[in-house]
Amino acid sequence: MAASASETVCAASSAPEGSALPPRPRRRRQRPEPQSIGLTLAPMIDMSFTFLIFFVVTTRFMLPEGVLTSMMPRQGSAAAAVALPFSPIVVRIGQTGPGDEDYTIRVDRFANAPARFADLPEFLRGIQSEPGFDKDTPVVIVADDDVRWDHVVSCWNAALLAGCKNIAFAAP
């Protein structure tokens, strides 16, 4: 059975008559193998780690730094010679101990000054709403020599929060 099948195939081939060459076997047409589509993970992981390192290195977890700005008195006009238009709001800061919360706040001519700087803006706004005071009323910060710089900046910041436009520093 097998021999007869091969003969049948040979008979179908196009070998020239009388040629010495044996007839070529018919080749079956081969289908192209499907290309495998895959995701190469290695470069992606590589890049991911590189980005991760980049962001870890460049990220800052601390608060950004800014500045509080104020005008300085002009040279030649001493602080005592500056004519204040009308009664300023004088905020006095004292240090009572070495701790962060060891300070006192007093406001001249106004009782019930707040104990914490967080409440000072509201207190200053209350003063500004009284007759004779507004946002242009100068606020003079008077701090003792031993007061921590942090408290002076907090007082300055509170005055800015209250919308005060004229903030000055004075020696105790």
């Binding site: 060459l21 070529r24 470069p43 590589d46 890049m47 590189t50 980005f51 390192i53 980049f54 290195v57 460049t58 608060l63 950004p64 730094e65 800014g66 500045v67 509080l68 700005t69 104020s70 005008m71 300085m72 008195p73 002009r74 040279q75 700087f117 967080a118 803006p121 701090a143 003792d144 020599d145 031993d146 007061v147 921590r148 710089w149 942090d150 408290h151 002076v152 900046v153 907090s154 300055w156 910041n157 509170a158 800015l160 929060l161 520093f169 020696a171």
Partner: protein, 151 residues
């Protein structure tokens, strides 16, 4: 004579792999970022004031001088434990800084000055700097503080 068909060789693909190149570029950039020192050099590490609901803004000051006031390591804050320096320079007496500032003011009249003072130092030490700025006719006082919610 047999009919032979040449077996075709699979041609090797010549391509440009960009991944290692990008890898290297990023690694090098991280390396240079780590070893480089930019303008943050003038920002000597210190504990800056953190006011409640800080009104401090991040400024754009191309021509500026930064005067750092920080406590001496292990020094007595109430006494003479405060040192002054201009940017990343070594600590100097305030009189020397004043002379230097006067020279800069002659070269750059629009020079801005920022005081960076540690929050723990006494006010008298910073007031000395403020007085020095007034003597040098610096028109604007800029004081560094942290931006954002404090306390």
């Amino acid at each position: 004579m047999r009919y032979r068909r040449k077996r075709s060789r699979t041609s090797s693909t010549l391509g440009f792999s960009a991944t290692p190149l990008i890898d290297l570029i990023f690694t090098l950039s991280i390396f240079y970022m780590l070893i480089s020192r930019f303008s943050t050099d003038e920002q000597t590490p210190m504990d800056l004031p953190r006011p409640h609901q800080s009104q401090a803004v991040v400024p754009k000051m191309p021509d500026r001088a930064v005067i750092n006031c920080r406590p001496v390591d292990g020094g007595d804050l109430a006494g003479h434990g405060v040192v002054y320096s201009v940017g990343p320079n070594r600590p100097e007496p305030l009189a020397v800084i004043s002379d230097r500032l006067a020279a800069w003011k002659r070269e750059t009249p629009e020079l801005k000055v920022v005081i960076r003072a540690d929050r723990r130092i006494p006010y008298a030490r910073v007031r000395a700097v403020m007085r020095m700025l007034a003597e040098n006719a610096v028109p604007v006082l800029n004081v560094a503080a942290l931006v954002g919610e404090g306390e």
